[in-house]
Amino acid sequence: MDLNISCKEMWIKKGNIFYLTLLALLIVIPWILPEFWLSIFISIMSMVVLTVGFRMIYITGRLSLGHAFPVGIGAYTSALIATKIGINFWICIIISGLMAGLIALVLGYIILRIGGIYFVVVTLALSEILIYLLIWADPLTGGITGIVNIPGPEIHLPGILKIKFGYDLLPYYFLIFVIMLVSVGIMYRLERSHIGRVLHALRQNDLLAEHLGIDITAYRVLAFVTSSFFAGIVGSFTAHYHHYLCPEDFSVMESLFIQIYTFIGGIESIAGAIVGPFVIILGSEALKVAKEAQPLLYGALMLLVILWLPGGLITLPALFKVKIRKR
């Protein structure tokens, strides 16, 4: 018992160091790196929200191949109400998160009963349906060309402060930083709480969990709705940040990449899901020197990681430690 507690405390300390360094780095980055890097870190941080959310569904024992679906719903909800009705960004972002969460709530109760490979196909089908609906509903959504001129957000406190988010990247950088902090923080707390233990139990043995009196579908829906809510918020952010969106942004490839980032980083811990996007997106930027051959190298490196580090990149330090101890 004592041992357990001390191990846990040690882990938390180590984990804290990891998270704190990451946060410090992210705060310092705008001042030490040229502006070009900000756009990369913005996409990394929006991806982190998605990978942590995807992992949240994964720990309940369901593999979603449609995590781009709530992102798409959030993005289109926000873009439509901002351009057609002209609602303020800050209301848009909340509405789009709620919309994605609501749709996830309704769909979740239906589809989360299906398990395994069938859930993979259902979520894939859902995200494809969204894309073709968006293309088909041309007069409203602009069809395959999408929506242009989505207004950027604006902070306007009379007499105190006025920031208009134009094409300058810095405000967006801090906005997504805050979104990431809040959403990852909430999902982290959720997983460490009593609810999180139930969620983990669902993957390990949902039959046993059900016999213990746990409403397994309700808990799965909870995880699904939470992660979809944050995905919707990220979708809304992306729409207003790019000022433009089209259905292709939410294709199967996007969902596949969310899966890959999470897995390569390490699916067993939240830290892994955070490390994944950082390493892979920065790595693929570095690989851009290879021009057209970039995806090839990228694929080859992913193969290497999965063959030699099946636990993901997050297990790399532990691997070194074991080797040192052996000597």
Partner: protein
């Protein structure tokens, strides 16, 4: 009336395009218990292979087809042995491996063959007239070849020892191995069969549709939908569902729009999964 028949024939051709890929995909999901996202790339490689041998090197079309199928199957053996076998019965790791291969093959094809799509001159010239309906000869021949291949695969699965062993492994790999089935050999054989079918489909469809490097992803997704409808692991179900999808695509494509066809596709899929998750002919997999 003529229009309807024309649409039906068109649907059969579209179904034939998918069916050989879907059968192989179904075998792989059934036997290896993983989603092989790089399966569509085998179709692409088959098409490019035939283009390379028959257009670039000037060989006979059939010789080119045989060579392409042979080489792609050889690649399939290596892929299965060194990259897929250890990820059997997993979902996420298998997705990462096969998507990596998908990216490698797609980019490789773009680098080697260039970005412009390739067309292969047709081998069967001429047009078939049946009263008022006109069909080009190559579509008839290709559809017939596809049908014959389905028949062949079905007979193979039903009557030969290897086919029976494959079905046994798909049902219950552990017990099949206790009964003396060599699992490794069955995995290899099923990969060869699936890959050869996909490559042959690419080689056959090359002259009808043009071939480009990005065709694989869409085809893999479509095949996944078809086999889920038909029942994972079931060859007949995959074939039936492919033709059904071809028909849906052809009918809605000519009466409403192509996007609407895809919408109907996926709605049917979700309905089927909710009512009968194992598909038309499948049995339930625990994966």
């Amino acid at each position: 009336m003529e229009q309807i028949i024309q649409i039906i024939i068109n649907g059969i051709v579209l179904g034939s395009n998918l069916v050989l890929v879907a059968i192989g995909f179904s075998l792989l999901i059934g036997i290896m218990r993983l989603i092989q996202f790089a399966h569509g790339e085998m179709y692409m490689l088959g098409g490019y292979g035939v283009w390379y041998f028959s257009v670039q090197l000037g060989l006979n079309y059939w010789l080119g087809l045989a060579l392409a199928v042979f080489l792609v199957s050889l690649f399939g053996i290596l892929l299965e042995r060194y990259f897929l076998r250890q990820f059997r019965e997993t979902l996420l790791p298998a997705v990462v491996v096969t998507v990596s291969w998908m990216m490698i093959l797609e980019t490789g094809a773009l680098l080697v063959f260039g970005t412009e799509s390739k067309s292969i001159p047709t081998v069967f010239k001429g047009i078939v007239h049946i009263s008022d309906i006109t069909i080009s000869m190559e579509r008839v021949v290709v559809s017939l070849i596809a049908l014959a291949t389905i028949g062949g695969v079905l007979a193979f699965m039903k009557n030969t020892k290897t086919g029976r062993a494959m079905r046994a492994v798909a049902r219950e790999a552990e017990i099949a191995s206790l009964m003396g089935v060599n699992i490794g050999s069955i995995l290899r054989k099923s990969m060869v069969l699936a890959t050869a079918l996909a490559a042959a489909a690419g080689a056959l469809m090359g002259p009808i549709f043009t071939m480009d490097a990005t065709v694989g992803v869409g085809l893999s997704v479509k095949a996944l939908v078809a086999i889920t409808l038909g029942g994972m692991g079931s060859v007949g179900g995959a074939a039936l569902a492919s033709y059904l999808l071809g028909m849906i695509e052809s009918f809605t494509g000519s009466f409403v729009s192509a996007e609407f066809a895809m919408l109907i596709y996926f709605f049917i899929l979700i309905l089927v999964l909710l009512i009968r998750p194992q598909g038309f002919f499948g049995f339930e997999y625990k994966l």
